[in-house]
Symmetry: C2
């Protein structure tokens, strides 16, 4: 079995995006506060940032890949420019078929219409000895958590309250973990959780 | 100005009690999981447990003091037996007057009908050089957070999802802190937050 991780940045009240997401506010109102540690304390958080981008393959939801819906706009190649930070195959869950898009630096976006289990099979084949990271968004991570697939949930907890938005743990009452480690800077607490078994 | 702290145990999704609180389930369904670190890892968490009970005075809501509502049942003297863990004055917010109740070990319960600001004035006079701890429950801590009174919020984050219940941060969207420190054992991540000013 592959080893699955996920690295959501989350508020104190469990949201990974604020309310009112749109093109101008892709993270919702206040949601950019979830990522200040990443941009303002890059050096201090270098180890965690590197770990986020160390997987052998990634899975993400279509809404994380881009804002368009329905039939593909083939000019859209993700938010990340010509050289995305993944440097590995990325499996994008979608209901609309599309040919793979090869970017610079080793990132290739593959579009999977067979559902999350199919994406997991493809990512497992591609990852080799590497682990698989569920990149987001909320509903995609939520789905793999619900299925019991995520071995290590590495929360990056920003010390802010969003009040509403995309809830990472929606309808997951009863789920429990054990804490493997934690570390903080002034803008984030990194908490590594492992799924409790049995 | 007095220094205010609060030490809520909270789930990953921000609840300090589960759904369905009643006499049989004072912490709601699943809520006892928030406190496993306290009872099962007492030694490992001795520093944090001691800090919780180090205030010069405490403030709590009536619903934390006991299950009865309306006119007082004078035989009820709290959940904690003859020698409660506070060893200091405890100001209980209520709409019903009652004479102070002196317990063993230095704990005296005072009943305050003048509201949270009045309780804060009384606790400040009583605490001397000590700090004041807002003991709970959720709505009492929430109220003092909203008023901007809590200087240090010491979250004890249990690695569980409750899904619903008493939300610590209800209607507090926009609140932000900085992380002063964190530390974990397998059953809890202790996160000390300080209110950001200005």
């Amino acid at each position: 079995m592959p080893f699955l991780t996920s690295d959501p940045a989350v508020s104190l009240d469990g949201f990974i995006a604020g309310p009112g997401q749109d093109l101008e506010h892709p993270l919702g109102i206040g949601g950019e506060g979830l990522h200040r540690w990443h941009w303002e304390q890059t050096e201090e958080n270098a180890a965690e940032i590197e770990a986020i981008c160390s997987a052998g393959a990634y899975i993400m939801g279509r809404n994380m890949f881009g804002p368009d819906r329905g039939e593909w706009d083939l000019t859209w190649k993700g938010w990340w420019g010509d050289d995305p930070p993944y440097h590995a195959p990325v499996y994008v869950l979608t209901h609309y078929e599309r040919d793979p898009v090869e970017m610079q630096g080793g990132t290739t976006f593959h579009f999977v219409t067979g559902g999350p289990e199919e994406a997991l099979r493809l990512a497992t084949d591609a990852a080799g000895d590497g682990h698989i990271s569920i990149a987001g968004g909320a509903s995609t991570i939520n789905q793999y958590l619900r299925a019991g697939h995520i071995d290590e949930l590495r929360l990056h907890v920003a010390p802010i309250v969003l009040g509403s938005g995309e809830a990472l743990f929606r309808d997951l009452g009863g789920l429990s973990f054990e804490v493997a480690s934690s570390r903080s800077t002034s803008l984030v607490t990194h908490v590594t959780l492992r799924r409790t078994r049995g």
